[in-house]
């Protein structure tokens, strides 16, 4: 059995047993609020089906995408941002096709590798991207402070530590107060204090109304998410809050829950 496969479940249930008007209206309203709707998404890379007929909706709060490396997390994230070539299906963000022009300044995207210029200082990087996005110095300063890189402002990015570089890259994604924040393994290589601070930041952004979508292959980060999507070999094998997933499998932690679900999925 697959635990709470919310993927496209709501519409199907509604068709099967019609709900009373007001409830249905509520569900529809809830669905409309979804930042991301993925329908039957197929992505093929190098002759290999990386995403297999994926159906997902992502709403507010912090949604975690967990799974082993190579399971398709980055490909899914690239599809949401609109830089991935799709082989089938559709991805819509705020009701529009992913990657379409009006979405480009509403989405903050951080790739796994720090996408900043190594030969510029942290401040120069931020000011450049700020000009591209049409925001001012104040926003650049604010986003520098929010990732705690103020003291490194005048340092060349190439000479920063790995964690500092990825925070510089994150700061760029925060410049324009994005409505959807797509973060591909943003906490890799960071010390525990910084990781905690960043997760607090993600929740602050979510509380301010942004949908935050974070991937990780570290299972102990799962409990920091409002909702979890467990992914394996291009499919979502579980979907629910961390406590729901633990409860349904009877496991103590997400890692054992994941293993239980994988075992169930395979049989």
């Amino acid at each position: 059995m697959v635990v709470g496969r919310c993927t496209g479940r709501q519409p199907r249930e509604m068709a099967d047993n019609p709900l009373p008007g007001p409830t249905r209206a509520l569900i529809i309203q809830h669905m409309m609020k979804n930042a991301v709707e993925v329908h039957d998404l197929v992505v093929v890379r190098g002759g290999h089906e990386v995403l297999r007929h994926l159906d997902i909706s992502i709403g507010g709060g912090v949604t975690g995408l967990l799974g082993p490396s190579g399971c398709g997390k980055s490909t899914l994230m690239r599809s949401l941002v609109g830089v991935q070539r799709l082989a089938g299906g559709a991805v819509s963000v705020f009701g529009q096709d992913a990657g379409s022009r009006p979405l480009r300044d509403r989405i903050g995207y951080v790739t796994q590798a720090a996408s900043v210029y190594d030969d510029l200082t942290v401040g120069e990087n931020l000011m450049f991207f700020a000009r591209v996005l049409g925001v001012g110095r104040a926003e650049a300063e604010a986003s520098l402070e929010s990732v705690d890189l103020g003291p490194q402002r005048d340092q060349v990015v190439g000479r920063l530590s790995g964690g500092q570089r990825s925070r510089a890259s994150l700061a760029v994604a925060l410049l324009k107060k994005p409505d959807l924040l797509v973060l591909d393994e943003p906490t890799v290589g960071l010390d525990p204090v910084l990781r905690r601070d960043l997760w607090q930041l993600f929740h602050r952004l979510a509380d301010d109304g942004a949908a935050v979508f974070v991937s990780s292959h570290v299972m102990d980060e799962a409990d920091r998410c409002d909702r979890l999507l467990l992914m394996r070999e291009g499919r979502i094998i579980a979907d629910g809050s961390p406590s729901e997933i633990r409860q349904k499998t009877g496991a103590d932690d997400i890692e054992s829950a994941f293993l239980a679900i994988v075992a169930e999925d395979a049989s």
């Binding site: 830089v83 989405i107 450049f128 591209v132 996005l133 049409g134």
Partner: protein
């Protein structure tokens, strides 16, 4: 295209160059040293040869240098993920390309002013036409180099490959541009080929400027070079894909 974004790209490229002292020195000093070397080679035996080859070199330097710099920097931008990030932002492809062309065009202007000043002022290169037009032709050549570099960077996976495109694309043009054998003395088939290569027109413009006071042919050549540069930029834009596999 948005002027704000185009200028942001150009400004950023210039800041990056300013920080890279070695590249900047090579860009500005190397052409001057090479043209001086050429002058020295022929000064004792046959100074007339310098007057014939010098102008061609003034056209060829900017194309080669800008081709190399642009193809490598654009490739770096593709592989580091910054291009993907920019394309997920409200940046037009032309903002990116024109931004690069502006920045390197500016560097090329400085480069050409230096090389032309040294050639005319110190090395006694005879220029019958207006000297400022010589600089303008050199800038058009540099933009051509930038456009070609942007285009080939799409077909290279590594910086090694990008550099190999230089001999593949530029050396044949160098051989057929009239520097070694005047173009009308080439075998007919090769003359036809050289007629469709942009460097032939770049060198032709320089040679006209040094040997004649009339500028009509020069403007025609500049127009051809500019046409090739625009075509290169358009092809470059076609190779910048928002969605990749």
């Amino acid at each position: 295209m948005t002027p704000r974004i185009t200028l942001a790209v150009a400004g950023r490229v210039l800041i990056q160059l300013r920080r890279d002292h070695r590249t900047l020195a090579m860009l500005l000093v190397l052409p001057c040293l090479l043209i001086t070397l050429l002058w020295w080679m022929y000064d004792a035996s046959d100074p007339a040869i310098f007057d014939r080859i010098g102008p061609a070199l003034l056209a060829i330097f900017p194309v080669i240098v800008m081709f190399l710099v642009t193809s490598v920097t654009t490739l770096r931008e593709r592989s580091s993920g910054t291009l993907e990030r920019l394309l997920s932002m409200p940046m037009g492809k032309l903002d990116f390309l024109v931004g690069y062309a502006l920045a390197f065009g500016l560097v090329a202007t400085v480069q050409s002013v230096l090389a032309v000043s040294i050639s005319v002022g110190f090395l006694g290169l005879d220029v019958l036409g207006p000297v400022w037009l010589l600089t303008l032709v050199a800038v058009a050549d540099a933009v051509l180099g930038t456009a070609l570099g942007l285009f080939v960077s799409a077909f290279a996976q590594t910086e090694f490959q990008a550099v190999q495109f230089m001999p593949a694309l530029l050396i044949p043009q160098l051989l057929l541009c009239g520097l070694f054998v005047p173009r009308d003395l080439l075998p007919t088939a090769l003359e036809k080929v050289s007629d469709v290569l942009p460097l032939s027109y770049a060198v032709d413009a320089m040679q006209h400027l040094t040997t004649s006071v009339s500028t009509a042919e020069v403007w025609r050549d500049v127009a051809v070079v500019a046409g090739f540069a625009l075509a290169g930029l358009a092809l470059g834009a076609a190779t910048l894909r928002r969605r990749t596999a």
